[in-house]
């Protein structure tokens, strides 16, 4: 009597992210194969890692009681060096990025200039900062000058690329209007081009200041001045309290810089 009719076997599944089944399966298979190979060839000295766990715990504990005082002079000196390097390199890099960026915009520069400037950008962007720092330390000797030049060099590529992209997206109508009034090339730059790109350019410069500070903490490892050298020394001496103090300071400064650069950029736009 009570023949219960089983509900129709309906079930729905969300469509897969990669629609093509062959592509999907080969990606899954390839991933599995790669993972097997990679994990299989991984050489890990587990005994050493286990030994290190105690030390790792000591480091985590050091964050609870960072030691700002015992090496304060060195921390202070490193921080001042890092900050001064950051400021000078950003100003210098941005100043040099202006002509390079102008030259790398296809709609403003003739072809030979364009190629040279794009070349400069490519060279400056392709090497990690720390490798450039190694070369500059060999050339200019140890100290913050080498670090400053490294950061300025990296800044040129970064800023010039973004500036050139902005310039290529320029609103041509405004340029034409100014040109129609009989403006010379410098006047064209000042009245038609500059107002269109300046707010974003300043915003990016502030952002780059941020990046340069973070990088300045790193390039000290290879002898280019700044807090990185102090940090490296503190690790070498196993003074985790000092290392934790330096890391906390870096995080705090980056947070402040990021927060204020966010405000500046918001006000500019």
């Amino acid at each position: 009597m009570n023949a219960t009719v089983p509900a129709a076997p309906r079930s729905w599944r969300p469509p897969p992210f990669i629609a093509n089944p062959w592509l999907r399966l080969s990606i899954y298979g390839g991933t599995a194969l790669y993972l097997a190979l990679a994990l299989g060839t991984l050489e890990v000295n587990w005994a050493r890692v286990a030994e290190g766990l105690v030390r790792g715990w000591a480091f985590v504990a050091a964050f609870g009681s960072p030691d700002f005082t015992s090496r304060w002079d060195e921390i202070y000196e490193g921080m001042v060096e890092s900050l001064t390097m950051t400021v000078v390199s950003t100003v210098l890099g941005v100043a040099l990025a202006l002509p390079v960026g102008l030259g790398a915009a296809r709609n403003l520069a003739p072809l030979p200039v364009y190629l040279v400037c794009r070349g400069i950008i490519a060279v400056s962007r392709s090497f990690p900062e720390i490798i450039v720092a190694i070369l500059f330390v060999k050339m200019f000797g140890f100290g913050p000058l080498a670090g400053m030049i490294t950061l300025a060099f990296a800044t040129i590529g970064f800023m010039a690329k973004l500036l050139a992209e902005d310039l290529e997206d320029l609103d041509e109508a405004q340029v034409e209007a100014i040109r129609a009034s009989g403006a010379s090339w410098p006047q064209l730059m000042v009245y038609a081009v500059q107002p269109q790109v300046l707010p974003r350019f300043i915003g990016l410069s502030v952002y780059r200041l941020d990046i340069n500070f973070r990088e300045s903490a790193v390039i000290g490892i290879v002898g280019a001045g700044g807090i990185g050298a102090t940090l490296n020394t503190s690790f070498d001496r196993y003074e985790f309290g000092t290392s934790a103090a330096i890391l906390i300071l870096i995080i705090a400064i980056v947070m402040i810089a990021e927060y204020s650069s966010g405000i500046i950029r918001k006000r500019l736009q």
Binding site: A38, V44, I251
Partner: protein, 272 residues
């Protein structure tokens, strides 16, 4: 609108008021003073004798770097494989750890805005402000040199990057779809699986591939502090002043970076 009366009695339009102009002038003044002061401090620590012969040093360096010693390439395949593994496994680990952090940090999905969200945001900021080289320096001290330290360093740095971009994507989500899913009586987990995940999937894939590309670039230098990969060989050659070998390694690093950038650009173009 600021209007100024000229001595001749004519009224002229000015872009800014007197006060605004003074304020701008003062800001510029302070800026220039800060830069000059910074330059002075930096100069005090510079040994200028080294700087004066920098062009000669540079020329000398280039002379010694050429011609490249290609035979060293045979020793580089294994470190390159290690570099690739550090970047890939590090990214994978970073994704696994970063995704939950992103869900905790996004206003739309966080279980508690007062406790979980600030903690997640703090994790993201700490991970982002410390370069992977510093993480590697730390981990090499703790667990000894090797690829594992590199993988974990890359992962720790990636958490912040993936977490930040993903939680921003989660906050810009289309709320109506979530509402529709909720209206069917879905549980919290089902809402995430059927409401949030499909919406952020393309962004998520793009972010991961982009971070992988950055990680390849970073893992080429992690060896400088002992975390394995091609950087380790580079460090050894630089220490031995074997500049012809350094040239080959630079070229190898450049090629690796270029290939990874190409792959990531292709994958992202396919997704979007």
């Amino acid at each position: 609108m600021p209007i100024e009366t000229l001595p001749s009695g004519q009224r002229a339009w000015q872009r800014r008021t007197m006060l605004a102009r003074l304020a701008r002038w003062a800001a510029w003044m302070v800026g220039v003073l800060v830069v000059v002061q910074c330059w002075q401090i930096m100069n005090a620590d510079t040994i200028w004798e080294f700087v004066y012969d920098a062009p000669a040093q540079g020329a000398d360096l280039l002379g010694r770097m050429w011609p490249p010693r290609w035979s060293v390439l045979d020793r580089l395949w294994w470190p390159l494989w290690d570099t690739l593994n550090m970047a890939t496994l590090g990214t994978a680990l970073g994704v696994v750890l970063g995704v939950p952090v992103a869900f905790l940090a996004a206003r739309t999905t966080t279980p508690s805005a007062t406790i979980a969200r600030p903690i997640a945001l703090l994790i993201i900021v700490s991970s982002r402000s410390i370069n992977s080289l510093i993480w590697a320096l730390l981990l090499v001290t703790v667990m000894g040199p090797g690829v594992l330290a590199g993988i974990i360093a890359i992962a720790l740095r990636s958490i912040g990057f993936i977490g930040k971009l993903l939680y921003e994507a989660l906050e810009e989500i289309d709320e109506r779809q979530i509402e529709a899913i909720t209206a069917t009586g879905a549980t919290g987990a089902q809402r995430i699986a059927f409401g949030f995940v499909p919406q952020i999937m393309p962004t998520f894939a793009g972010i991961s591939v982009y971070r992988w590309d950055i990680n390849i670039r970073e893992s080429t230098v992690l060896g400088l502090v002992g975390a394995g990969g091609i950087g380790l060989q580079l460090n050894a050659s630089v220490s031995r002043l074997a500049w012809p070998e350094v040239t080959v390694m630079f070229i190898a690093i450049l090629c690796t970076v270029a290939v990874s950038e190409w792959v990531s650009a292709r994958v992202r173009a396919a997704i979007i």
